[in-house]
Amino acid sequence: MRAQSIVISAYLAVIVFILVFAILYVLVYPKTTTKVFEYKQLDIIRLIRTKTYWSACELASSIASEFGADYVYVNITVVDLVDNEVINKTSCYRRPVNIREEELTYFVYHFTRLTRNGVMYIYDIEVGVR
């Protein structure tokens, strides 16, 4: 009778272990040990297209408020494509004092916009989020 109870309890113990292993491997570990990297969606192009003309600081503050960015650097170069010369170059920083640089993840964007009068706006934008 005693031997039988030992076999039954050992059998139950094995079942409990199997269940614990299954739960850990199938449901817990895959989630706790996987890191997913995804490109953050900062649709800055959409934001830029909402207005025809931006000043660098105006754009920087719009990016900060729209996307909750902690750090923003905007550089706008205005080029006359017809004469192939740079007309204007402005830049603007929004850098927090209480956040260290290494805490931020940076996203860098470069794109251009051409208008019918031959003026090309070149946007160089850096966005840092925690």
């Binding site: 031997a3 030992i6 309890s9 050992a10 113990a13 094995v14 272990f17 614990v20 292993f21 850990l24 491997y25 570990y29 895959p30 706790t32 040990t33 996987t34 890191k35 997913v36 990297f37 995804e38 490109y39 969606q41 900062l42 649709d43 800055i44 192009i45 959409r46 297209r49 080029v79 494509l81 017809v82 192939n84 964007y109 470069h110 794109f111 251009t112 916009r113 051409l114 208008t115 019918r116 009068n117 031959g118 090309m120 070149i122």
Partner: protein
């Protein structure tokens, strides 16, 4: 001893659990998610829009220079062979061709220059760009559509740009932007309300790739510059050397880009106009009509242009000035029939 077996088994399993747990928490599986319809797609959309703007800009600037060159070259090249309709028509076609070639260079140069400037800045951003094709053209030609005389002017640019983005994505942009101005003429008459009347249909549009954007031509922008040596002999109002400019007295928009306009070339009176032909019949008569009367057949080479949102395009029109005269001997009077027709072989109209 037997009692120890479950303890040993449980210890072994516990150890296995601990080891695997340690293994899992010290290693990390990395999964990278790539969003195809995110930033990069918007960027290509922006580039596509930039290229469209670039084509329109090149066409605007190029067509303005090209139109000036076209007009100058045409006026320098075209020579009417007075009294010989077909020789004049040949010269007219040839002058249009020569002027179109000269004008094409202007549009071509502009698109090449602006595209290279744009490419230079995009290359600075890290794009690999190959300009497969960059062509600008300007072409004015005349042809017949049944009895309709048709003139068609096209100014356009075509670019094929192969691009690889800094992220490794590849796109080929094939863009065509054209401005088209077409005019059609069948026949017109001199009328008693003091002018020769030409009903003309006009179509103007910009084609971006396969989409047409029709342009409603403002009434005040319509004109026809008529060039003919016959004007030295005719009693018309507003002749400058061998040219006269006709303006519409009425115009309406029919739809789908087609406007109809009634142009008038004014004279003092129908009688004066008829007499001016009869008085100069020795110079103006070129042969004999099918009815056996003396007749004249002369080319009125016609130019016109349109400004569509600062894109200027010329078009041309072949008009035959035909008349036949006869004398009523019983009354010592002259009879005259005058037509302006698109098809020189016909006496179109009532």
């Amino acid at each position: 001893m037997k009692a120890h077996i479950p303890i040993i088994i449980s210890l072994v399993m516990l150890s296995a659990l601990l080891v695997s747990t340690l293994y899992y928490i010290t290693s990390r599986t990395t999964h990278v998610g790539e969003t195809l319809y995110g930033y990069t797609l918007s960027e290509w959309i922006l580039i596509n829009s930039d290229l469209e703007t670039l084509c329109l800009l090149s066409l605007t600037r190029g067509s303005q220079n090209a139109s000036r060159v076209f007009e100058e070259t045409f006026l320098d090249t075209y020579e009417e062979v007075f009294g010989d309709f077909y020789a004049s028509l040949n010269n007219f076609r040839s002058a249009l061709r020569v002027a179109s070639i000269a004008a094409s260079h202007e549009v071509d140069r502009e698109i090449d220059r602006l595209l290279l400037n744009w490419v230079k800045y995009k290359r600075n951003e890290g794009y690999i760009i190959d300009i497969v094709n960059s062509t600008g053209y300007y072409n004015v030609r005349i042809f017949m559509d049944g009895e309709w005389s048709v003139g068609r002017g096209v100014a356009g640019v075509h670019i094929v740009v192969d691009m690889v983005s800094p992220y490794g994505e590849h796109r080929v942009f094939n863009r065509v932007v054209e401005a088209v101005y077409e005019i059609r003429f069948w026949y017109g008459h001199p009328y008693s309300d003091n002018g020769i009347h030409w009903p003309v249909s006009l179509i103007a549009y910009i084609r971006i790739d396969s989409a047409r954007y029709y342009y409603l031509i403002p009434h005040e922008d319509m004109y026809l510059l008529i060039i003919s040596d016959t004007l030295y002999y005719l009693d018309l109002i507003g002749i400058v050397d061998n040219t006269i400019t006709a303006y519409p007295i009425s115009a309406f928009y029919y739809g789908a880009g087609v406007s109809y306009a009634l142009f008038r070339i004014p004279y003092e009176s129908l009688m004066h106009f008829a007499i001016s032909i009869i008085d100069h019949k020795d110079e103006l008569v070129t042969g004999v009509s099918e009815r056996g009367y003396p007749m004249g057949l002369h080319l009125w080479a016609t130019l016109t242009s349109i400004n569509i949102d600062n894109i200027i395009v010329y078009s041309a029109l072949k008009v035959a000035f035909k008349f036949e005269i006869w004398r009523y001997y019983s009354r010592c009077n002259w009879g005259i029939r005058v037509r302006f027709v698109g098809d020189e072989a016909s006496w179109a109209g009532p």
